[in-house]
Amino acid sequence: MTTSALHRPIDALAVGEVALIAAIDRAGLDPGTAQRLCELGFDEGVDVEILHRAPFGGDPLAVRVGNMVVALRRDMARLIEVEP
């Protein structure tokens, strides 16, 4: 894992803030989920933005990645880090 003090998880982004994916902690996921995440467009260097947080606790998140909008839960969002 390439955790850097400068990286933030996408979970920490404000709604509407655009950032580039810096690292994905694929070791924290089962291989199938890691692959699906990639198939949905999550990859290093791709722009992401949090569009919505669900009511009642802000979980799950609706994340725009490229032209795709993907819903995922915060525990997974924490494994995706963005550049500051």
Binding site: R36, E39, D43, L51, H52, P55, P60, A62, M68, R73
Partner: protein, 621 residues
Amino acid sequence: MNAPVSITRQPVVALVGNPNAGKTSLFNALTGSRQKVGNYPGVTVERKAGRLALPDGRSAELIDLPGTYSLSPRSPDEAVTRDAIFGRIVGERPLDAIVAVVDATNLRNHLRFVLELKALGLPLVVALNMIDLATRDGIGIDSARLGALLDLPVVETVAVRRLGLEALGAALAARIGDTPPALPQERPSDVRALQKQARTLSASVQTSTGSARAWSQRIDAVVLHPLAGPLLLAAVLFFMFQAVFSWAEAPMGWIEAGVAALQAKLSTALPEGWLLSLLNDGVLAGVGAVVVFLPQILILFLFIITLEQTGYMTRAAFLMDRLMARVGLNGRAFIPLLSSFACAVPGIMATRTIDSPRDRLTTILIAPLMTCSARLPVYAVVIGAFIPARDVGPFGLQGLVLFALYLAGILGALVAAFALRRTVTKGAAPPFLMEMPKYQWPALRDVGLGLYGRATAFLQRAGTIILASTVVLWAMASWPQPPVGGTKPPIEYSLAGKIGAALEPIFAPIGFNKEIVIALVPGMAAREVAVSALGTVYALNDVSEDNAGSLIERLRSAWPLPTALAFLAWFVFAPQCISTLAITRRETASWRWPIFMFSYLFAAAYVAAGITYHLAVAAGL
């Protein structure tokens, strides 16, 4: 079907693509009403096939394969797509060509799958679908350049407006040879490398990036709003259930009148006797009592299909995820569960999109708790008989009671899921990942074809399983005939009466009378049969020869209110439905789960009906 000696072989073409690429719209546009819906052997994934006329005079069999992101399946329906491509499905012919359906507004993600398909070496044509939406959003795509870079024919299509279909047919005809191509070999592919390649490719063919999803984001600002979103969802569901009741009123009246006219005609045309009784009291009373609910079922499906097509369903799943997570499920389970409001069978089949086996099993087990349309006839009759048709504020009391029954089913399902996830389906919560497609106008043709499919399936059930069970029930309720000079109602002497009497002690503590118990037995075939069974039982149970009174009036005089309420409570859980148990057997590949499902639903139904009955009696109702 071709004769075995025929020289012309009908080639097989499959539509393959990401979910939400507009595959089904393209399939509907290409095949129109010439489609056949069936099942793949062994699995219950829907197999949709149709005839595709090629411009060179040949015709091909076009198959709509389930949408998937890649050839590495995460769920059973995605596995069907992979197996069909690699020719591993028994009874399926190998593919001659593939149409890769691509959403032009989401090029870079969908192109990755095209690259994966291209590596197979099968004849491949790319349908650059929804090109109109790309243009609207200001996304310019050089499709000729895309074709040159991919070294594949690329055809721009707008499935919902039937644009580009001839060009697609011509491109296909040029790629389909006289002999089938060799079966492709499965090779591992590097997703990240392909994804990177797709991004580069899409960047080099897009002449302008535009503002894709601007509209969807504006709509989502309301639909997913923390406060407005849940309120809107509740309003949509509430409106849907009110509509099911109020819009269907008139057509239901016409069907009832039609059945009554037919019965009157038969009464004058045929002599009094067993044949007339079979036709009037058995077939027409039984099947008529079920067919009358066709309008309600169609309205319910109209809402579900439309909501699915607009893209709202995944928003509902997003909003519901938190609640589902509390009981150990995820938002994805919301869509199968919502389909189960129409019928648990397609709902249970829709669980194939859930990737975690435990989640899927839990969803299957609670799906029958969603109030399916087969319960509507039962609710409708009992509510019509016992709940006064007055207004409470702006709403009808009958509609409110119906809403409460739906709510009871949902709460029951949440409690059941909570309990199941901590016992029989214990295990870690799986990750939740769900694409939220852009909003789209529902296409009339796609909604129409969807509704047509549902209506024929329902009428088929009415014409087969329900017809058969009502005839059997009629026979059971008619024989043996009462002895000469018998004083009790004829049904008491019949086989059905005897079974009812034998089972009555089990159900007496929850307020059920013998007629209800008799009706519950054939109701095993399908829940709505309970209504036709009650119709048959009460029509035959009548010694006064007065067959004019409707079932509603008969029930009103025969049941005390606590019994009626207990009956409603029973049907919230009602375990009886052979089709649901059969599909559960097939989907879980064991008898263990259908037996478990039946037992736990029976126990829940019994307890709920008992509590309702005794509370109502205690309250002096």
